[in-house]
Every structure is written in structure tokens, then in C-alpha cells.
């Protein structure tokens, strides 16, 4: 049997993903005013995303490693094009329109950056030495900078995180980590002046949402009320008054967790978190089992990035993090992020098919 033919589905991971997709449709029915059109569209997206996953799952880790520099370069090129078009069009620009489909290069970089950093890391034996680490930082900084310029700070931070996680997994020494953490702490006050007004406002609101209950604090207050009033067992499906009465803004997209939590309560939220934890845990397990360092680093980063999405979104809805436009992975309504997420799971599936002890 040649390596290219090796392909099997990890049913444990698959079950986790299908469970989350099913939950998505359930909540969306309630969040979207029981609109069946919305459900149909989301079902089509989910199906499409699963097809993408299965296609990517057939790419072997060797092929992926070979293509990595090209994918990364194309991604950078597209970011430059988008930015250039934005400058000419005098407005924020995040999309590339290729006739039948609109496509966001930043979304592609969520995969391309950890791939490229992993590629750089495995050039030399691990743990990564200082020059390799610096090279890794450069690989992360270029796309992050381009995405900040779009401007999309939230996505830039997530892209940077996905690359930095790879460097961490590659064994970057604790001394460097300590120095960086120190620098970050020192730069924080400076950062306060660099960020924009509305971003500052969002952070301030976090500490005292009631200072402006109808303006900046509105999202935070209303979604906290929704979650809190759900109580232990929730108000029941389709019966969340906060959700159904329009108090929660963007309730089928970024704030969908508020709807879920109001209607299914603490018990429901715990079950959802466990479902996420299962998917994350299984992904980390696949990473550890992976047959080479490149695949391990990449898969580890994908698992952690997924966890970060979950944490940032739920943290935002429950009022412990400022409001950033991060959807709840696999549950929120919307297409682009779902496709890149599922492509990531495709890489994990491929890693599983070609795992360590299969040799």
C-alpha cells in the first residue's frame, strides 16, 4: 500500500463535529425567529464545509509540507492585493471576488501561517533555537501586519496566535518566553495609546457596562442578562425572552451563545463546553500521535486555535472579555470561518490517517 492511498476517517472527531453542527441548527432555529430559510442556508454551508474537510483529509502530510511555502506566498500576495484595492477604493477591503465566490484572504492565513511557521521550525532539529524562533516571528509578523492594516485587529491577533502557538510547541525556551512576556507587559501602556477610540471604549465598558447601558454597554448587559436569567436548567428551547424579544443584538452570529445559554441554562452550557473540550482534546491527541514534527506542530496549533475561538467568543458573551467579532466556531451563522475551520479539521483527519504507528 502506498502512502497516498492511506485515508480513514477518525470517527471520534467526526462525531464531535457532527454533534456541534446539529446543535448549531437547533439554536439557529430559535435565534433566527424560526426562519427555515436561514436553516437551509446554514445546512448548505455545513455540508459544503464537511465536503471541504473530506477533500483536505485526502492530502498527505508530505504533500502539505511541500506546498506550504507556496500557499503562504499566495496568501501574502492576496493580502497585498486586497490592501491595494482598499487603498484605491478608499475603504476597508477584506474580500476578493472571483466571480462565483467571495473569499477572504485573511481567513486563508489562519491555516497558512501555522503551516509556514511549522515548516520553518522543522528545518532544524527541535527544540527551536533562537535564530529559528526569530525567523518564525517574522513569518508571523508579515501577515499580521497586513491584516491589521485592513483594518481587522481581532483577526490579526488570532492569526498571530496560531503562529505563536507553533513556536511554543516547537520548544521555544522558557527564557525567551519570560523576556517576551516582560516586554509585552511593559508595552501594554503604550498599546493603550495606539489602539483606536472604539477599541478603548470596548475595554472600558468591560469593567463598567452600566456606565452607558444603551450605548457601549448595551451588548454586554443584555447578553449577561440573557445568560444569567437562563439559570440552572434554562428557559427552554424557543422560550428565551431575551433572545426572542430582540434584546440580544447579532443573536444568530456572534452572540448565539447567549441564546443557547438562556434557553438551555448552566447544564446545557456545560454540555456544550464538554462537546468543545472533546473536540479539542481529540485534536491534541491526534497531534501527539502524528508521525512527524511538522504535522505535530501544525495539528497542535489547530487544536489550540480552535480552543481560543471558543474561549474568546464565550468570554465575550459572558462579559469577561471585550467585544471582538469572533464567531462561536461551528455554531454561529455564517460561512467563511466555517470553511477554514473545517479545512483545518481536514488536516487533522489526514494526520490521523497517516499517524505514527501506521508505519
Amino acid at each position: 500500500m502506498t502512502e497516498q492511498k492511506k485515508f480513514s476517517i477518525d470517527w471520534a472527531l467526526m462525531t464531535g463535529l457532527l454533534t456541534l453542527s446539529a446543535i448549531s441548527l437547533f439554536v439557529l432555529y430559535s435565534a433566527g425567529d424560526q426562519n427555515t430559510d436561514l436553516l437551509i442556508r446554514q445546512s448548505i454551508r455545513i455540508t459544503l464545509a464537511f465536503v471541504v474537510m473530506l477533500v483536505v483529509a485526502r492530502v498527505t502530510p508530505e504533500q502539505l509540507l511541500r506546498w506550504t511555502p507556496y500557499i503562504y506566498s499566495i496568501g501574502i500576495l492576496l493580502l497585498v492585493i486586497v490592501l491595494g484595492a482598499g487603498v484605491i477604493g478608499k475603504g476597508a477591503q477584506r474580500w476578493i471576488d472571483i466571480g462565483f465566490v467571495r473569499f477572504q484572504p485573511a481567513e486563508m492565513m489562519k491555516l497558512a501561517v501555522p503551516m509556514m511557521v511549522a515548516w520553518v521550525m522543522v528545518k532544524k532539529p527541535l527544540p527551536a533555537s533562537l535564530p529559528t524562533v526569530i525567523l518564525g516571528f517574522i513569518v508571523v509578523a508579515i501577515p499580521a501586519f497586513l491584516v491589521i492594516k485592513q483594518p481587522d485587529l481581532g483577526t490579526a491577533i488570532l492569526i498571530a496566535a496560531s503562529g505563536l502557538v507553533v513556536i511554543f510547541f516547537a520548544g521555544m525556551s522558557w527564557r525567551i518566553i519570560a523576556v517576551l512576556a516582560g516586554l509585552l507587559a511593559a508595552a501594554a501602556p503604550l498599546g493603550w495609546y495606539l489602539i483606536r477610540d472604539y477599541q478603548r471604549q470596548r475595554i472600558l465598558t468591560l469593567f463598567d457596562p452600566w456606565s452607558d447601558p444603551l450605548g457601549a454597554g448595551y451588548h454586554t448587559i443584555q447578553s449577561a442578562i440573557a445568560v444569567g436569567s437562563g439559570g440552572m436548567y434554562g428557559k427552554g428551547w424557543l422560550n428565551g425572552s431575551q433572545s426572542q424579544l430582540d434584546f440580544i443584538p447579532e443573536r444568530s452570529t456572534d452572540f448565539i451563545f447567549a441564546v443557547f445559554s438562556e434557553e438551555f441554562g448552566f447544564i446545557g452550557s456545560m454540555i456544550l463546553l464538554l462537546a468543545y473540550l472533546f473536540v479539542i482534546g481529540r485534536s491534541l491527541y491526534i497531534a501527539i500521535e502524528a508521525k512527524d514534527s511538522y504535522t505535530r506542530l501544525l495539528c497542535g496549533s489547530l487544536a489550540v486555535t480552535f480552543a481560543i475561538y471558543v474561549f474568546v467568543n464565550i468570554g465575550m458573551v459572558t462579559g469577561i472579555l471585550p467585544i471582538v467579532g469572533v464567531p462561536l466556531p461551528l455554531i454561529s451563522y455564517g460561512g467563511t470561518s466555517m470553511v477554514s475551520l473545517m479545512a483545518g479539521f481536514g488536516i487533522l483527519m489526514s494526520a490521523y490517517s497517516n499517524r505514527w504507528f501506521m508505519h
Partner: protein
Amino acid sequence: MPDFEIKDVFRETRVFTSRSIVIGVLLMLLMAILLTRLFYLQVVEYDRYNTLSKNNRISVVPKAPVRGLIFDRNGIPLARNVPSYTLEVVPDQVRDMDALLDELGKLVKLTEYDLKLFRRDIKRHAKFDTIVLRSQLTDEEAARFAVNRYRFEGVELRARLERNYPLKESGAHAVGYVGRISTRDLEKIDKTLYRGIDFLGKTGIESFYEDILRGESGFDHIETNAHGRVVRTISNTPSVPGKNIYLTIDSELQLIAEQALGDYRGSVVAIKPSTGEILAFASTPSYDPNAFVFGISNADYSALRDSPDTPLLNRALRGRYAPGSTIKPFMGMVGLKLKQSPAKKVYCPGFYTLSKGGRRFRCWKHSGHGSVDLHDSVVQSCDVYFYDLAHHLGIDAMHDSLSQFGFGSKTGIDLNGESAALLPSRQWKRAARDQPWYPGETVIAGIGQGYVLATPLQLASATSALANQGVRMKPHLLMAEEDTVSNEKNVNKPVMLNSGEWNADDLSIIIQAMVDVTDSPRGTARRIGAGSPYKIAAKTGTAQVIGIKQNERYIESEVAPRHRDHALFVAFAPAEKPDIAVAVIAENGGHGGSTAGPIAHKVMDYYLLGKQPAKEADPS
């Protein structure tokens, strides 16, 4: 990969595994933070948030815009908004619904029907939605409730604007009515446009110009107390009122047309030929649109729907009638256009046959008209002449030319549900009935019988094309729309449908014949022309409702009322410079000249002379 240094695979794995453990611990920590936070919100602080949610102090309440008004061409209101009190209940805030309804019933009148609708609405809505229990409270009822309001938690007295149609039955088929948004409506409309709005236009102008009349919803950010009652408004986005609409209808003329129809089922459509403005759009019997606004009861609705007089049918728009002899001037135009000489004579012995000894197509005048030309046959309405003309033209040539007058197709008037009626052709019969066309069918089509059907609107529109040098203008009801904020008026421009390329000489031949219908001693409507200060070009029509066998005669007094002939009349005046074109249909009215003609006459007299029709002499 030759350029890679030799790697210690086990060391690399160890590095990764140890880092994974660190990451795993961190992730568990993050999850623990989320769970702690959720536990804090949902369990520890549950009571506080639950209270906040129950009486969510700040809420966004959509504000319905004021619907645009509808006026006639002289500014007389046809649809207006009048203040009215409604009792509204939020079921979620009511502890014992039955007890509450019992108590409320002692203060305000609650009918079985009110309660039935209310219970149905409770099932349809979420329990925290506001549901109307009673509308149109009297001032006294409103006051009685206001005094006792503290006893009824979850019940709110609200002043709303209610749609009202001051002219009631008059013009109802044109203006239409609004009604509550139904479940079926909800599937069709864009819900974001209807935030806070409970009503939409269901028929007529109210429905056709819904987007203009509706306006845009506004929003109030309001603060409520623990009982859900509004304490104060914090901020608001004002709603934008809908635009007012001015119709081309003259409501006085409309009323006169309806009164002239009297007890007949039928229709009168009057058009200004030069622009296509609809001056009157009557369909009798009519109905009171006010009954529909708050939901008509099933019994009342069934009575309207099942009445043999079909008051809900918009006869002007959708009534399909055989045009009978009123089609003759148009047939005459077609003949002239296809080069039949106006001087050609046909001998009328009282019947027509396609072959010797074949089926006899009878002329209404059994003794026959003798030798007649085109002019005589229009004036005296000779059937034999037009049987012969139709036979020579053939059904397809008739179809192509008559369709230029708008027969067989929708006029495009600004109302929904218009009927195209029917202008037959070989192709139509093949497609619709899968049968060949028979020559005899062409013959009777020549006098507007058989398959030929037209709506009163089509007849009026075709007549106004004759009056307007053959140019057919699109019939329309919208005269102007008025922005209620800036008072800016936007006048609707007339649209030409087609010019038909009719020859001016041909037109004057036909118009002269139509004038002689009222103005010559042999004309079928000579009684109408007598003494008229302006010249009327007209054509009478009598359409058979039942078939008469070959050797039977039609005797009006012996036929059941519902089987009597329909009376038709088309006219325009003044003939030299037409200002109004009218089509009249009186179902089972008998003869066009004697029944439908006087109705049209009253309409034209009022419009041209400002003359009120003389009151019928009271016999007592």
C-alpha cells in the same frame, strides 16, 4: 529531504509532548474560567438576572408609522386614521387569565368572538408578546378601565390609530381595505419593514400602494417598571409617516354611478380619455370595508362570500362579460382598417346563414333591417351586417386588431388581480380546449357573443381609445402622492399603451355612427340623446345569458330574472372633444339602451354639466 539535519525523533516527540501538557493545563484553566463565570451568572446571580430579564428595564419598542391617507381627486378623504382605544394583554404577566377575563368582562363588553380570537392569538404568539383583547372601546369603557387599571396587572389601555373609510360602501372596490397581518401574509412580507405594524393593505389601492402608504417604523428605547409599564422614554428614533395618495376618482361621480346602478348587480367605469385617469370605478353591490379592519367575524364573512350577489367580487376589474353589441364600433374599425369599404351594403332578412339552409344566426330584429351599410348597422345595431363582416375577416384577423384596443389583455391598471378576460383565436382554442375553431364561432364573435369576454374596465379603456384618436392611455387610479412631512406632491404622469395606428378618417366614420346612435331617429339610444346639450357618441349592447334554441323566441317576462340578458352601454362625450368615456354593465338589466344607457347618461351629465340626477318620483 537531504538538506535537513539529522534529527533525534524521540527528542522532538518529547519536546512536543511536554509542551502539550503545558498547553493542556492552560486550556483546562481557560475552560474552568468559563465554567466559573457561567456558574456565577446562572447560579449565583440567577435571581438578580432573572429579575432583570423579567422586567427588562430597558427595551426597544418599535413604533408604528402613521399610514398615509387616501383622498379622491378633489381632496375628499377616502381612507383616514381615527384614534381608537384598544385593550392589550401580556399573558406572561397575568397570573390567572380566566379570573382576569371574568373581572374585565364586568367593565368592558367582551363578546364570545373577542374571547375566541384572543385565545387563538395567545396560542399563536410567545407568552411575552402583547395581544389585543378588545379594540374600538367606547370613551366610557376606556374611562371605566382607566379607573380600575391598578387591579389588572399585564393589561394595558392604548390609544391607537384605526383605519376608517368614511364613504363606507362607496368606492370600496377601488380603495380596498387594510386588515391584520395574517400568518399567510407573514410568509410574504419583509418582517423588518413591519416592526410594530399590525396592519397591511389587503385589497385595492391599500394593497397596491402598500409600500407608499406604509411609512417606516421608528424605535423607542423605553424604561419600564416592575409591572412592565412604561415609566419613561429614554431615546427615540421617530417613525416616518407614509405618503398620502390622491386618486383620480371623483367621489361624487362615484356615488352617482353607484346610485344610478341602484339595485342592479353591475359596474360603471368612467375614464378621462386623454390621460387614462379613472374617474369612477363602481362595482355593485359593494361592501363596507370598515368591517374588515379589525377582523370580520366568520358569520359576517360567510354572508358576504356566499351571497348570490357576490358583493366581494370586483366586477369592474374581474367581471368577465360578453360585450355583446358594444363590440360593434370596434369591429367596424377593424373592418375599415382591413380595407372593407364603409359603403358596402349587406341585406338583413332578420337572420344570417353560412350556407343555404344552414343554421340561422338571428338578428335581434326579427323582421330584418333590409339593406344596411356600416353606418346604419352601428346606429341600428344590425347583427347580420357584423355576422357577415366577422365571417369575411376571420377570427385571427379579428383577434389581432381587436387586441390593439386592449381586449383580451390586462390594461395594467394599478390594482391587483385584474382579469385579462378573453379574446379568442384559433391558437387559444387549440391550447385551452384542444379543439379546432368552427366558422360559426367566428360569426357570433362578430357581435360580441360566444367566447368573447371583456371586463367593464377593458370596455371603458377601449372606448376611451376611440375617443382619444385611437391612442390608448393606461388606465390608472393614482393621481399624485404627497409627502406628509414636506407636503411635496409628486404627480403621476400618464402613460401611453399603444396608438393602434388607426386611420383618422375611419375613426370619424365610426364616431359619427356612434353619435347617431343617440342623435338620429333610428338610433338604439335616441332617448338618451334627446335634449342633451352635448353630443354623445355611444353604443348599446345586450348580452345573452342563456342560449335560445333555434325555433324559440326570447321573451323577457318569461325568463327567470337571473337568466335575463345583461344590459351594456359604452359612450363618450362631448363627441367633438371627449372629456369622459363610460362603460356600463347592468347584469340581467334587459336592454342596453333602456337600462344601461340612462345610467351612463347620469354619470356624464354630472361630470360635464354638474347636474345632479333628478330624484325618482316618489309614488306615495
